[in-house]
Symmetry: none
Subunit: 248 residues, 2 copies
């Protein structure tokens, strides 16, 4: 077993457990502790992990070239529940669209092992699904460095070329009266383009977005096929009355 092989396994262990001791590595790899220490030292200087006394930690946040993980920290647990529900809607072989919102991003962890194709304009999503079962189609166009996503006319035209089963989208605001709203034009038109390219439109909205209107309203509430949220039952009645499926 060469150093390169061990490197792989060490990273995998860290990926699963977050942190581990030298003993654990030595046992898992059936090799002496001193060798593990040397491995960890080199990998630490290579920036692949964080060395602690007695072991190592994964540097998920530092390793990620994107700062997306921070954003998603807000209401992470609630969002994860929503995403788990969303992921359950996906069958093997599906082709799905995913937009560049922070909620939709958290779906990645639940779909990594599905054999599906994901079409997306979000670089964090691409990064997260890299080296997974999922086959990825990246939407081309101008990169918005702030959003870490692809936007613009070219991107919309790219989307329009596809017809997919399901689109998983996020919005900044949603209300029964004024429909869907967003903070920016770019976001709105990409969301719209994705919705138009998909047979079934799923919208992932945590409770904080329900009943709110934001800067730009861009689509009627009828665009929504399925609303996936963590709001309480009274608040979602109005949406069900409009003929929208709601998953809680």
């Amino acid at each position: 077993m060469s150093f390169q092989n061990r490197k792989q396994i060490i990273l995998k262990i860290l990926e699963e457990r977050g942190e581990a001791e030298v003993k654990d590595f030595a046992q898992a790899l059936d090799i002496s502790e001193i060798t593990i220490r040397r491995d960890l030292q080199q990998m630490a200087t290579d920036g692949l992990l964080f060395r602690t006394h007695g072991g190592a930690m994964k540097l998920a946040l530092a390793q990620m070239p994107f700062t997306f993980a921070n954003k998603t920290a807000v209401n992470a647990k609630e969002k994860d529940k929503i995403c788990q529900l969303a992921a359950q809607q996906i069958q093997e072989g599906d082709i799905i669209l995913m937009d560049c919102g922070s909620t939709v991003f958290r779906m990645c962890q639940f779909i990594k092992n599905k054999r599906i194709k994901v079409i997306t304009n979000s670089l964090p999503v691409v990064y997260e699904l890299m080296n997974s079962q999922v086959s990825i189609n990246l939407i081309g166009g101008e990169i918005d460095q702030e959003r870490q996503a692809v936007h613009g006319r070219i991107a919309e035209e790219h989307i329009a070329r596809y017809k997919v089963d399901k689109a998983f989208l996020g919005v900044d605001g949603i209300s029964p009266e004024n429909g869907l709203s967003a903070f920016g034009e770019d976001e709105a038109s990409i969301t719209l383009a994705m919705a138009n390219a998909s047979a079934k439109k799923y919208f992932l909205c945590d409770a904080s977005k329900l009943g709110k209107d934001k800067y730009l309203t861009f689509a009627p509430i009828t665009l929504v096929d399925v609303l996936i949220t963590n709001a309480n039952i009274e608040d979602i009645k109005v949406y069900q009355d409009k003929g929208i499926d709601v998953l809680i």
Copy 2:
């Protein structure tokens, strides 16, 4: 059994198992270990596999998960010199194409602070130029997880929509007689598409690629406008005779 045959089988073994030891290869091919080592060495310099102490690994496995900057890069210093030369060819305001080769990738460090637009299919380039002065246009299409780049027909169509000043490209082999060659079809056709979309074509080739023909020859040497290399003067004469600008 010829070297070509062994090469095929070695690659097949790696494809199946991901990694293997010299012993395994020697046994499978019924040939001495020293010969296997020689094969592996050549294939490693050709970029077909990753050599480890005691064996070899599939390239995709060796490229650490998402450490896009390949730190084990061979000839890093030589490549950097070539890239510095290439970067000097770029003026403020230029729109340039960059392909997904490891040499071209190293240009990023030298162009970070230029006010230019880069069109690329390489995810490492995108990540490297993120949060820089450079504005990025990402080519859309299917993602090749091994190459960490976008390939395919959609990508080529995307490229064809643009007309740019300069393209900075890499190839796996280049020779005065047979022109440009690559290991794979996808790579070749993307390179060709980029060349066609650009007024001036720069090719970045370290000395190890000069005078070599690889698996697939896909374009005549006349496609090259400028060759940037670290080879010695005698070796580049033949290219200059063909009317190609050469920078050393």
